[in-house]
Amino acid sequence: MIQSYLAQGSTYAGDIDFLFDMIFWIVGVWFLISSGVFFWLVFKFRVSGNEGTAQYITGEEKSQKRWITIPHLLVLVCDVFIIWGAVRVWYDIKQHLPEPDREVRVITQQWAWTFVHPGQDGNFDTADDIHTVNELRLEKDAVYHYHLTSNDVMHDFSVPVFRLKQDAIPGRVITGWFTPTLLGEFDIQCAEICGIGHGLMPARLVVESAADHAAWMTEQSPVKFAAVAPQVGEN
């Protein structure tokens, strides 16, 4: 369902969309059944004025309680499925960390993004690091590790097209991963309120082919402009 609004731009986007659809169908069926029964009862037992007599049902007898306990157990079964699906997707995206092809630092501050590529030598904090502001260029199909930090308040690195979201916490470096699978230009949003400029903190994501990306890296290196590059300890 989500993919009809937003393309799937990472290897795990499809998993999240599948989980969303699975939950949608499970809770959708429950919702239709319960609201169907609800409206049916309201219309069936509706009386006009003060006429009509009601039945006396305590709901305390076993034969009556069955109407509650059986659906109740079915809800539990559905819960098990949903928990299983959720934990599986969660493990893949947040708990497990595949070996990276490339790394990128994401540094947040009020109200801008700085992205740092390690450059040709593959190491951060060397002369050939490439800094970009409010634009993140990535290579398609490469496994990336991101190292997310904040210079001031909480921010959130959210890339809807990847289905990725992670808060940035001042004082911590949070490492996660993604693999872009779709060429093109997309939005990066800050998803954690970070002050009056929160809504004015967009960044562009550009996913390009390996060749284009290599050309861009060469063109950018050595650093042409000094971006805001605070020293944040790497762990």
Binding site: Y5, V27, W30, L41, T53, E60, G171, I174
Partner: protein, 570 residues
């Protein structure tokens, strides 16, 4: 369980017991009468609801028509915008839902429904309202200090909330936290009263299982509130210290931890959802039984599910923090506990639906509100599953989907629940009937636009749009043409819905002036409040009632009348 303390007048109450002439001030402003205090809470809550609703109007206009000069407000700047969304949330939860559902209905209903003359501690009760009023004034004053009102979301995450250099509201942020803290003191004072009165002052003969469900719900909610609020109050004090004394509880550069606040906040924040939910669920129970002339299906099950929900609600808080940098393994535990909450809540909904079976359903205005509560809350409930599932929450977190989900829980609770309660107990409160025709007009004029506000927001959320964004035009790939149309639809629906609230206030006033006399028991209900005069005098009854049976004995076979008041010997 039947040994009770029926009619002992308590010492703090005596001086108010003379039913003679009282000046306006002592009758309405300094009264210790639970009914007057309930009205004070209710009207203050409604006034705050108007302010909170106006804020929603202002920021929704900005979202639909960016940069527009909003009528009655002006240009919404980014600083205005964040302050508006922050205070809208805080006001609607802490200064509308809490005072109306817990304090107003709790104060009004507990003594009347358990059959005693007043709260156990009337002066503490009066103090509770006065403290609450101070908190509301402190909050509203934050808009008029230098820097303006706080704009860091109602969740007030540090470091944004802790440092003026980040939030740019040096005084506003402290007044905000201070107001929330003061307000909690008010509800702690109220909670003591609610629990004690319901447990100790019940009419002779009223056993625990004879207590009307709404009273149980308010008592359980008060217990949840009192248990959960401590950590947050401690956290709030640390936050004010960080703001004003520059301590470093939440400052990572000096050894503090900003995520600590999130744990303290949500350890309170999630039970808080159930604190306001339960009274609304209780109100619904009273109304659907009366207007379907049915006994509540499985009374004890409802009570157990409420207690179960309450206990579980202390074990789910970190589902608000899945992506906030907690240990990822923790998310699995909290996914499990969160989804388990679906068990008692689903059971509660099933029980309510089952209660309708075999009834003689009268679609009066209060009944429509109660039925709407069940249906709309169902939507809020099922959409919560998406967010409780950690894997899906990675994408849905902080999107409009979350916003739509919790408005589908909080709107039924705070607005539908309140209207259900007010329209149902209005005859008791004021001795007049409300116009059913106007009531139904107001009902449909509220419910239909309500759905048109929030259903579009589910789609915006599924499309990846985040909350609290001032202007979507900065996100070209996300702010497609269709998305903007959905935002405009939501805003227009909000304006329509706010407009229809005029009908309610008109109905309220016109019914007060010219409404038909209600009599003691216009709905032919069983619970004790309907045996008192309408409106009940100070002291409630001349002779306090005695209880012989449970509250929901409707349509008992072999009886001539289809109701059987709790105080009738046979």
């Amino acid at each position: 369980m039947a040994e009770l303390i029926p009619t002992q007048p308590d010492p703090g109450h005596e001086d108010d017991h003379h039913h003679g002439e009282q000046s306006f001030v002592s009758k309405y402003l300094l009264s210790t009468d639970h009914k007057v205090i309930a009205m004070q809470y209710m009207f203050t809550g409604m006034a705050m609801a108007l302010i909170g609703g106006f804020m929603a109007y202002a920021f929704r206009m900005q979202l639909a028509f960016p940069g527009m000069d909003v009528p009655f407000f002006g240009i919404v700047t980014p600083a205005n915008y964040v302050a508006l969304v922050t205070n809208h949330g805080a006001i609607m939860i802490f200064w509308v839902a809490m005072p109306v559902l817990i304090a107003a209905f709790g104060n009004y209903l507990i003594p009347l429904m358990v059959g005693c003359d007043d709260m156990v501690f009337p002066k503490i009760n009066r103090l509770s309202y006065q403290v609450f009023l101070v908190s509301a004034i402190v909050l509203l004053s934050s808009f008029f200090v230098e820097g303006g009102g706080f704009g860091g979301a109602w969740t007030t995450y540090p470091p944004l909330s802790a440092k003026a250099e980040y939030n740019l509201t040096p005084l506003g942020s402290s007044l905000f936290i201070g107001a929330v803290g003061i307000e909690f003191i008010a509800f702690l004072l109220g909670g003591i009263n609610f629990i004690t009165t319901a447990m100790n002052s019940r009419a002779p003969g009223m056993k625990l299982y004879d207590i009307p469900m709404v009273i149980w719900m308010i008592v359980i909610a008060s217990i949840l509130f009192m248990v959960s609020v401590g950590p947050l109050l401690a956290g709030a004090i640390m936050l004010i210290f960080d703001q004003q004394l520059h301590t470093a509880f939440y400052d990572p550069n000096r050894g503090g931890d900003p995520v600590l606040w999130q744990h303290l906040f949500w350890f309170f924040g999630h039970p808080e959802v159930y604190v306001v939910l339960l009274p609304a669920v209780g109100i619904t129970a009273e109304i659907i039984t009366v207007f379907s002339r049915k006994k509540l299906f499985a009374y004890r099950t409802v009570l157990n599910t409420a207690i179960g929900t309450g206990v579980l609600s202390f074990c789910v808080w970190a589902h608000h923090q899945f992506i906030s940098g907690i240990d990822p393994r923790m998310a699995n535990v909290f996914t499990l506990t969160t989804l388990l909450i679906s068990i008692p809540i689903a059971e509660m909904m099933f029980v309510y639906i089952a209660t309708l079976y075999g009834g003689a359903i009268r679609l009066t205005t209060p009944m429509l509100w109660a039925l709407a509560f069940i249906f709309e809350f169902l939507i809020g409930g099922v959409t919560g599953i998406f967010l409780g599932a950690s894997g899906a929450d990675i994408y849905m977190h902080d999107t409009y989907f979350v916003l739509a989900h919790f408005h589908y829980t909080f709107f039924p609770i705070a607005i539908i629940g309140t209207y259900a309660g007010v329209t149902y107990w209005f005859p008791k409160m004021f001795g007049k009937m409300m116009s059913d025709r106007l009531g139904k007009l107001h009902f449909w004029g509220t419910i239909i636009p309500f759905n048109f506000i929030f259903i579009p927001l589910f789609f915006l959320g599924a499309g990846g749009q985040h909350r609290r964004i001032y202007d979507f035009q900065n996100f070209p790939a996300l702010a497609g043409e269709g998305m903007q149309d959905l935002r405009i639809l939501a805003t227009v629906s909000l304006v329509v819905m706010l407009g229809f609230q005029v009908v309610f206030f008109y109905n309220f006033i016109i019914s007060l002036m010219r409404g038909e006399k209600a009599g003691k028991n216009p709905w032919k209900a069983n619970t004790l409040e309907w045996t008192a005069e309408s409106p009940p005098p100070h002291g409630n009854w001349k002779v306090l009632p005695t209880v012989y049976r449970g509250p929901y004995e409707y349509s008992v076979p072999g009886r001539e009348k289809d109701y059987w008041p709790q105080d009738e010997p046979n």
